[in-house]
């Protein structure tokens, strides 16, 4: 006897028990009777395509027991729309659920579906920022944030400042760097130029330069710079001064960042008669500053002979 079988409101449903497939199923989960019963009622209502308030409650119950249950989430979304259930109420319920189960594909997909239908973004950005207090690198939350920006055109609603806030907290948060890239360059298809525009490029290089000054051995701003170079096709030589600040091989303690030395190799290779110097920079990485990547640095050296430098080729 269980919660549903004893409830008169469910008396008309004949539950469909779990088919285990055979007498000795592999990795069978000894889940609770409550879960088994709820699933048997879910199978029954799904078989008859029932969308009703009681089904919503059933999905709530199941999600509580197993938040990774994608079928329940998808069926719940259908149910919400069929019933014209108030979307604000659904969001309020989701807020609580998200805090309990934030690392979950389904919950963010569902949120996305609901907010899209609701057509209102007020409160979302704040909620997302709250989620970052728990984990500032949560992949789904960043993905949801990108979607919000695109869906509601929030490109210039303080989003750049938001990335600054996030990077102020942790300049090594690569997810925040990725979001910044998106905000700056995400509207190319609509004709809004990003780092291909000189003014914006200068601003972003300056942003990266300041971040590098805080922590030179931080891969994120260096990758950001490389991304700018690849996308804009700017000459590497203009970064030489910055790079030498952190990779001055002429001084005993002149190398403050392996990433700077990596970029220096490309800067040098681009210059006239720079191949030999580039090769020496890669040797330093290989033998002293970054020996775990020795094979990669050796490969890069091999590319020097071929003419073009390794990682600055224009993106496809």
């Amino acid at each position: 006897m269980g919660k549903y079988s004893e409830d008169p409101a469910w008396a008309d449903i004949v539950p469909l028990p779990t088919d285990e497939g055979g007498p000795n199923p592999l990795a069978a989960i000894a889940y609770s009777d409550e879960y088994g019963e709820a699933m048997s009622y879910l199978r029954a209502v799904m078989a008859s395509n029932e969308f009703s308030p009681r089904v919503l409650e059933l999905t709530d119950d199941l999600i509580d027991m197993n938040p990774a249950h994608y079928t329940v989430w998808l069926y719940r979304a259908q149910c919400i729309f069929e019933l014209k259930y108030p979307l604000e109420d659904e969001l309020a319920w989701l807020n609580e659920t998200a805090l309990a189960h934030q690392k979950n594909y389904q919950i963010w997909h569902h949120r996305n579906t609901i907010v899209d239908k609701l057509g209102k973004w007020q409160g979302e950005a704040e909620f997302v920022e709250q989620m970052f207090e728990l984990d500032a690198k949560n992949y789904h939350v960043w993905s949801h944030r990108q979607w919000l920006v695109k869906r509601f055109g929030l490109w210039e609603e303080g989003e750049l400042e938001f990335t600054e806030r996030m990077l102020e907290k942790d300049v090594r948060n690569n997810s925040a760097w990725n979001h910044r890239w998106y905000i700056v360059n995400g509207r190319e298809a609509e004709g809004v130029r990003g780092v291909t525009h000189e003014g914006i490029r200068m601003r972003e290089i300056e942003f990266a330069r300041k971040a590098i000054a805080k922590a030179p051995q931080n891969a994120s701003p260096w990758s950001y710079l490389r991304g700018i170079v690849r996308k804009s096709g700017m000459p590497l030589a203009s970064l030489k001064e910055l790079v030498l600040q952190y990779a001055d091989t002429s001084k005993p303690d002149g190398v403050k960042s392996s990433h700077a030395l990596d970029l220096l190799a490309d800067v040098l290779a681009e210059g006239a008669d720079g191949k030999q110097q580039a090769s020496e920079a890669l040797d330093l990485l290989s033998t002293k500053y970054d020996p775990i990547r020795k094979n990669y640095w050796e490969y890069r050296k091999g590319l020097l002979g071929g003419g073009s430098s390794a990682s600055t080729a224009t993106a496809a």
Binding site: L16, D19, E20, G21, G22, N24, P25, L26, A27, A28, I29, A30, Y31, Y35, M39, M65, N66, A68, Y70, T71, A77, Q102, K103, N104, Y105, H109, L134, K137, N138, Y139, S143, Q146, V171, R172, N174, S175, N178, G186, K214, A215, P216, Q217, N218, S220, S223, R226, G227, R230, K231, Y289, P291, I292, K294, N295, Y296, Y299, A310, S311, A313, A315
Partner: protein, 502 residues
């Protein structure tokens, strides 16, 4: 509530991984197990090695350390600024370094003559077999992901050269209620078909030799519903579209020799698409980010698991040296892949400035064979540190004590997911893969995508074993770089569906 707190506490350590199940796997690590596996006081009774093996060699070992483990290397850069990221990194390095340098040892493991733990085969086998038996109630959170468990266990056992055909009957029975009448497999009985569950069921069935259980015609129809007009695939009807979908779908199509033409009722046909591969390479290309790595979907952050999905997907639709450079900036990707091998740990992180996690030994480690083939680099040249990864996996990713299994990092508990992907990564680091550039990319008669069937592998030389400081018994058999199963299983599957048709 306790579970919730545990989850939150671990967020900074828990990497994002391929599937919802995997995310929950991190939670499972924290759930109480029905037997306690960390009773180190019990360890002595099954300790088989000589007492303190190699301890007298420790001084000598110090001299023998690879350069990235020498203090003068990892003390080179020390940015003063402390942030959440750097704090987490410092902690992990502190956990790993003593194990990597031999200053601390894993209880209950045998050590080889170089002072590195042997691969604890028997215990890992026992650990995976345990996962095939009834799982306790808290595992309800993977009820929608059980197909993964079939693959992690049966696949993992096959990597350890166990006869997994013994599971054929039970597996075929177990997955029968998961297969829907409209095609594809769901996570459980009565659950919607899902590409992750379908992929995992197919691989597990292939390993055990039970692929006749698959309704190929239904699968073909259902896959047609997943194909999107932009070229990608959704994971389930109405669910998210991401690069896992592209890889999982193409794996099913190529392995089972399904027709490449979209079914007549596929919605993507309305957008002018005719085949499963239409616009696919372009869609994958759009997932490459400014960092050079690959995101789960266009504009998201570059992530190691998605890099593998992208490269493997492209290596199915055509030969890697043709399709990979066609759709991706290979040098940018290479630079990014190289950059996420963590130092001094030697394993891989999933993203820039994230922590090492043994599962990326596969997701990133298995990219190398594909990218080396894309660049047509022969086996005499490597682009990465095999030694670094091997050392991380053997010294840090093996669970100590008697239970066996492999883990994300020393502070985490082992699980079947990390065990399979650690073993796959170990295999990728130890074996050499060659691609036959003259092999067919498509079977003329049936139009089957055959590019992924042109791989061969060879094990390490004695000199390599010595250089990596391991012995022959620590070498894992070659695992197929695209389909992530032993090579003979892939060959058998290729033959089984030679005929095609529906």
């Amino acid at each position: 509530m306790a579970q919730q707190q545990e989850t939150l506490r671990r967020e900074d350590e828990t990497e994002d991984t391929l599937d919802e199940a995997l995310r929950d796997g991190a939670r499972i690590e924290e759930l109480p197990s029905d037997d306690s596996d960390d009773d180190f006081e019990d360890v002595d009774e099954d300790f088989t090695g000589p007492p303190f093996p190699g301890k007298h060699l420790l001084k000598q070992n110090d001299l023998d350390l690879p350069p990235w483990l020498k203090p003068e290397t990892f003390a080179l850069f020390h940015d003063d600024l402390t942030t959440t990221t750097s704090e987490a990194q410092v902690k992990v390095t502190a956990d790993c370094l003593p194990l990597l340098t031999g200053k601390e040892r894993l209880n209950g493991l045998r050590y080889n003559k170089y002072g590195i733990p042997h691969l604890n085969r028997e215990k890992h086998v026992a650990f995976l077999k345990d996962w095939l038996e009834p799982l306790p109630a808290p595992y309800v959170v993977i009820d929608a992901s059980r197909p993964w468990v079939f693959y992690w266990t049966i696949g993992g056992l096959s990597f350890l050269e166990q006869d997994v055909s013994v599971y054929k009957q039970r597996l075929m029975e177990t997955v029968r209620p998961l297969q829907n009448p409209y095609g594809g497999f769901g996570g459980g009985h009565g659950q919607y078909s899902h590409l992750a569950g379908t992929y995992a069921c197919i691989l597990a069935l292939a390993a055990a030799g039970g692929l006749e259980a698959v309704d190929r015609k239904g699968l073909w129809h259902w896959l047609g519903q997943m194909k999107q007009s932009d070229g990608g695939f959704t994971m389930s009807k109405g669910a998210e579209e991401d690069i896992r979908g592209a890889y999982c779908a193409m794996t099913a199509i190529s392995l089972l020799n399904l027709p490449l033409d979209l079914p007549p009722d596929a919605p993507a046909r309305k957008a002018g698409l005719n085949t499963f591969t239409d616009r696919l390479g372009e869609w994958v290309g759009r997932c490459q980010t400014y960092e050079g790595g690959i995101a789960g979907a266009p504009t998201n952050e570059a992530h190691g698991a998605y890099a593998f999905c992208a490269l493997a997907c492209l290596s199915i639709i055509d030969a890697p040296h043709i399709s990979i450079p066609k759709y991706l900036d290979v040098q940018a990707l290479l630079s990014w892949l190289s950059g996420i091998q963590t130092t001094p740990e030697g394993g891989f992180a999933g993203r820039a400035n994230k922590l090492v996690d043994a599962c990326y030994s596969h997701w990133v480690g298995s990219c190398w064979a594909l990218i080396q083939a894309a660049l047509r680099i022969g086996k005499t040249q490597d682009l990465w540190s095999r030694e670094g990864l091997i050392r991380y996996l053997l010294c840090c990713a093996q669970q100590q004590g008697k239970k066996g299994g492999m883990r994300d990092k020393p502070s985490a508990r082992p699980d079947a997911y990390h065990t399979l992907y650690s073993l796959s990564g170990l295999s990728a680091a130890q074996n050499h893969y060659s691609y036959d550039y003259h092999g067919p990319s498509q079977d003329g008669e049936n139009g089957r995508l055959t590019a992924a069937f042109n791989w061969s592998a060879e094990g390490p030389s004695e000199a390599e074993l010595a250089a990596w400081k391991i012995e022959q018994e620590d070498v894992v058999i070659p695992i197929h770089p695209v389909f992530v199963l032993p090579l003979d299983v892939i060959e058998r599957t290729k033959q089984q569906f030679q005929k095609g048709g529906l």
